[in-house]
Structures are given as structure tokens and as C-alpha cells.
Amino acid sequence: MPKEEFSGAEIVLKALKDQGVDTVFGYPGGVTLPLYDEIYKQNFLRHILTRHEQGAMHAAEGYARSTGKVGVALVTSGPGATNTVTGLTDAMMDSIPLVCLTGQVPTGLIGNDAFQEADITGITRACTKHNYLVKDVADLARVMHEAFFVAANGRPGPVLIDLPKDVLMDQAQYIEPAKAKPRSYKPQVKGDAKAIEKAVKMMAKAKRPIIYAGGGVINSGPKASKLLTELVAKTGFPVTLTLMGLGAVPASDPRFLGMLGMHGTYESNMAMHGSDFMLCVGARFDDRVTGALDSFAPQAKKVHIDIDPSSINKNILVDVGIVGDVGAVLGEMMKQWKALKAVPDGKALKNWWADIDTWRARKCLSYKKSGKMMRPQFVLEQLREACQGKDVFFTTDVGQHQMWSAQYLNIEKPNHWMTSGGLGTMGYGMPAALGVQVAHPKSVVVCVSSECSIQMNLQEFATAVQYGLPVKVVLLNNGFMGMVRQWQELFYGERYSETRMEVHPDFVKLAEAFGALGIKVEKSTELKKAYEKMLAYDGPVIIDARIDPTENVFPMIPAGHPHNDMILGPGDTVETANDEEDVVLA
């Protein structure tokens, strides 16, 4: 008896089921009709209808980042597909596992400039980890499974599958996931034992060590975060985290120095600069982290753990590179640390911590609480306190509010912090929060945003209301594109070119128009009540918090400056002069 055959659309659904997918974020269109018809006929898969394909992508990212699972988006051809490009690039930069299914015109029409045709595999080749155009339904099941494997394994990333309409309607046999492993892609998971041993010996000898960890720890799973926290406790080494790594070590851990880099804490950047040994775990020496490359941690021997060999020696040459999954390598490191009966240099460490405590005593995150207008730092500290004791997930948009969130929200757990790090996508926060809330219906999901960022994907409030997703949006409203304004103030002679939008909607009325709750807060004394109301309300909320527009993000290392060259507050200046190249925001 010949094996049963299924339509392409049925095969897509079967593959999603076998891959454990229970939620997709999408937007239908002409060529995906066969697929949407199958979605209509089944129960296992929940489809969240966003208001824009970019919203679907960021929601899938939020879902993926907060669960560790692969996020799935489903869009139509042409404009539906091109609207995914920002989300794909964002996921590529931040290593978020996604599978994006795009519809395509029937194979016979490809290349004919047909209605809603776009060469999306061509367009997205540079912003996906891999992509496929399925021209034969016989390949479909294999490609589906392979896409999930590629998205989730190695350094995670977005994979796009382009599905011509006729392929969705043609018939073929279905193949199980186990029979569809890719034949060429085999990322290295286990680290080289000799390199690990070498690293452990270097750790034992270190006098001024620092652990610098990033998003790779989060991607490796909660076990990796636990191991990292254990390693920090075992060695007594100070640890700093990148923007993407926040939560990998609890913010309350006494050995955590705060975030590092351009807007990192004084103590973490000074410790990076003064270290004689650096263990980089799942981070990639990004320019926002390193500052000036030639004066980056000049005395430090460097060990770098990364699952992506191309991350090692890309920006900074290291002494030992270990290719492998962070969790696997850290596990092996702990084992070897015990086996070698290694002990840290206690006396040296004590001196090192004394140095660090002096830097900490500068209290670089302190701010003036007084003033006519609310301080953003205070708004966030109050938010943190209001959410205490709850399982709370934070997402952010991009700009000043994002940096303040990273500095003041004190993320305690991995996967509880979603932000657009590499690409810096304004408009990420709100849809990402939807994805998080879908995955965690009982938790509190707060999107910290601004009056500018939020307007880039404002339409998704309707999605939140439709699905009863009670996301809380806190706008730090200063009437400016604050981060660009800050650079104009500091480096462009206070010429505020096009950074002020003179017209903004009334966010309270806007929330009401969507069927959500809006609260405007202008005084510090009103904050506590507003947060109480926000958390008690069973539905989406916008808090429009009016903050001091002159407030800037500090500490700050101007682009291209070394770690020990920080501006700590208003009136402070860096020692070395800026040149033209330094003041480019990008």
C-alpha cells in the first residue's frame, strides 16, 4: 500500500506539531490561503493575529527569548515578507531562534514580477542564518525540520522558509523529524578539554580577574546561568554582564558589578580595564562593550567561550578560544576546577575587591531625586519596587529608557529581560511583550518604552486587547528622541536637529481608544498609586510618565574611548578629546 500523501499546507502543520510548536504569530494573505485554511481546521496551534508583520516578528522574538523555544511567524508574500526584514535582522544580531514562514507566488510565476512577488530569499540572505525556497513539495517536510534544527542549534538565529502557493497545494509524503537532520550543519557543542584545562589554570593564577558574560549564556539555557552563578561563587571572581546577558547572574549577587560598556557602571568598566585575566562567556566583544579596541583591557589574558567560531578573534585577539556551548563548557570547567583542586589567589583577590569597592563607592548610578520634573531613574526604581515578589518579565524599546532600564531594573533571572541589543530596533518592545505574555499568561509583562519608540509599532495594542494580553507599557515621556538628543547636547553643540516631535497623541485617550487603560503621571508622588492601579488592572495599560527632558544617561563612555575614560555625570568630561569619528552614533 503506498504511503499516505498530504498537501503542502498539511505537511507544514504536521511539521509544526512535531516540532512542538503551539503558537504562531502571523498575518494572512493571498498566497498563504491554503495554509490558513488548514489552521482553521485544527486545534493544537494557536495563531496570534498581529496588526503588522513586523509586530509578528518581534512577538515571535519575545516568545522565543522568554521560553528558550523557537519562535514562529507566518506571513504572506511580497509586502508581508519584506515587512519581516527588520525582525529577521534583529533576531540575527541578537541570536534569537526563529522560523519565519513566508508565502510566495506559485512557482510558475516566480521571476515574472507577479502581484505581491518579492525575491525574499534573495532579500534576506544576509539577515537570516539560513533560508530556503521550497520548489518541490517532496522537499517540504525535510526543509521544515531542518529549519528548526538550524534555528535552535549552534548560535541560534532566524531561518526563513519561502512557500510558493502551488507547493502548499501539491501532495507528498510526510517525513518525521528524526529522518531530516541536515547533512552539513554540525555545530560543536563540547569544548576542547585541553583548552578548558588551560583556561582553568589561568583562572587559578589570576590576580585581578573579571568574568564578562553575555547573551550566549541566556541562549544556552537556564542551566548555563546556574553554572555561571556557581562559578562566580566558587571562584569569588567579580562578574559583569552585557545588555543581552542581564539576568544570567542575579542582579542581587554581591559579585555582580552591573552592566559594562558604553553605559555600564563605573566599577565594571574600571574592573575590565584593570583586569589581568578575563573570562568572556558567550559575549562577542561588541563595539558598545569594548570602546577603543587598542586600549581594551590592555593587561588582561583573555579566554573566550563561544559556540560560534567566527566570534572568536573577530574584534579582540584572545589567548585561549574555546568553541562550544556555554553550558557544556562551564560544566566541564567546574569539573576541571574541582579535579585540579584549583584555588583562587585569595590574597590577590582581596586586594582586587578592595579596588573594586573603591570604584563602587563612587556610586555611579546615584542621581538627584529632587527637581520639578520626575527623574526617569526614580520612575524605574519605583517600577522595580512595585513589581517586587512577582514573576515579572521586562521588555524595552531602544534609547535612553533602554539604558536606564538596564541600569535600574535589576534583572534577577535569565529569560526575563527582552531588549533589542545588536540592531537597536525602536518598536521592538511592545510586540515583544505580547509574545512574552502569550508564553507566560500568568506573569507580569512590562514594556518600558518611550513616546517615540512606542509609536513605531503602536498598532499592536489592538492585538493585546483582542487576545486579552494584559501587557503593561510604561512610557518614559521626555518629548524627545532622548538618546540622539543626548548626543546632540554632548557632541553637537546642543543643536537639537529634528529630535523633538512637536505632536504626540494623548496616550491616555489613545489607550482608551484601543480599549486599554491609560494613566498619566506627572509627579513622583503619583507613581506608586499609578503602578498599583496598573498591576491591579486586568488588561493592557499605558502609563505616560512625564520625565525631565534634560536628563541624560550616565555613566557614559563616548564611542571610541577606552573603559577608563568615562563621563560620570553632567559637567564631567572625558580626558581625551573627541575626533569626528568618535561622535558618530552608529
Binding site: 540572505r125 544576509a126 542564518k129 538550524v150 547533512r183 567560531p309 567566527s310 578573534n313 585561549v320
Partner: protein, 180 residues
């Protein structure tokens, strides 16, 4: 692996062999990687080498500092359809060959001289008219460059080159035609 490099700022040429799945877009992926990250391509050749296993072999001659060359190999290795990447320049002695076709137009002494030089270089005349030759020459890049240079004043009007293909000397197949 991952050591620091001597003379790290020197620009060097490397010949890199890449075994890939022969699928649509694979060449675009490789070329896109080079253009997107600002790497150089001096020459690039590609052809199917194993139809049963659907494998193609790409040979790239590129240049950069040692760190850039390492990056290029790491970046190539992480492309999904790539099976194997070998740095032929570091792998030891190798044979490198390129084919060129040259059209030389002329009469009289120049024509005789062109034939004479072709003979010295073991180039073959593969097409001939009363006032032109097409020469075929096989060799490494330097030999081809020298030949083309000598033909230039003798009426050279057209050149086509394949780009370099390379193979390691000796018994070992470092970059075989099999997927594993």
C-alpha cells in the same frame, strides 16, 4: 587554533577550498558573505564535483591579514550548506592551475612572434584565422600573467580566465569530494 599571529598586519594571499551542497543560492551566500563583510575576492571558481552527492567545490583566492583570513574561514564554515573549508595555503604544498584563452590579432612579424612565445609557454593555438589566433594556456597565476603581459604588445584583444583551482600534493584528500 586561536593563537596570536606573527606579523599580524601583513596582507597575504590565501587559496581556500570549500565543499558545498550544490543548491540554489549557495554561491550567492558565499559572495554575499565576502561583499557584506568587506573581504576581497581575487578569484573564485565553482563547479559540481560529485553529482550523486550533489556537491560542488568552490576555490577562492582572497587576501587579508592573518586575523581576517581566520575570520573568512570561520564565517564560511558557519554557512549551513558548507561541508568543509580548507586553507590550501596553510595545508602544505599544492598544485594551483588556471586556464586562460587569449585572442591575439595581427599579421606579419607580430604574428610569428606571438606563435613563438606561445610555444615557449606551451600554450596551444585552438583557433586560427589569417589575422588572429586564440591561444589556450594552462598554468599558475604567475605564468598566465607573464604570458598575457608578453602578448599585450603583439595584438592582444581579448582575454578570458577561469580563476584558480587548487589541490594539495601527496596522497591525502584534505578536501575530498565526499560530504564527510
Amino acid at each position: 587554533m586561536f593563537g596570536t599571529y606573527a606579523n599580524e598586519d601583513d596582507i597575504r594571499f590565501h587559496t581556500i577550498g570549500v565543499l558545498v551542497d550544490n543548491e540554489p543560492g549557495v554561491l550567492a551566500r558565499v559572495i554575499g558573505l565576502f561583499s557584506g563583510r568587506g573581504y576581497n575576492i581575487k578569484s573564485l571558481t565553482v563547479a559540481e564535483v560529485n553529482p550523486e552527492e550533489n556537491l560542488s567545490r568552490i576555490t577562492i583566492v582572497t587576501s587579508g591579514t592573518a586575523q581576517i583570513i581566520e575570520q573568512i574561514k570561520a564565517q564560511l564554515s558557519r554557512l549551513v550548506p558548507v561541508h568543509n573549508v580548507r586553507d590550501m595555503t596553510l595545508d602544505g604544498p599544492r598544485v594551483e592551475r588556471e586556464v586562460a584563452l587569449l585572442k591575439v590579432k595581427g599579421r606579419g612579424n607580430k604574428r610569428v612572434e606571438a606563435l613563438r612565445i606561445a610555444d615557449i609557454f606551451r600554450a596551444r593555438a585552438v583557433d586560427s584565422t589569417n589575422e588572429s589566433f586564440v591561444f589556450e594556456i594552462v598554468g599558475n597565476t604567475e605564468k598566465l600573467n607573464a604570458f598575457i603581459g608578453l602578448m599585450a604588445p603583439l595584438g592582444l584583444v581579448d582575454v578570458a580566465r577561469t580563476g584558480v583551482v587548487a589541490m594539495g600534493r601527496g596522497v591525502e584528500a584534505l578536501l575530498g569530494m565526499m560530504s564527510d
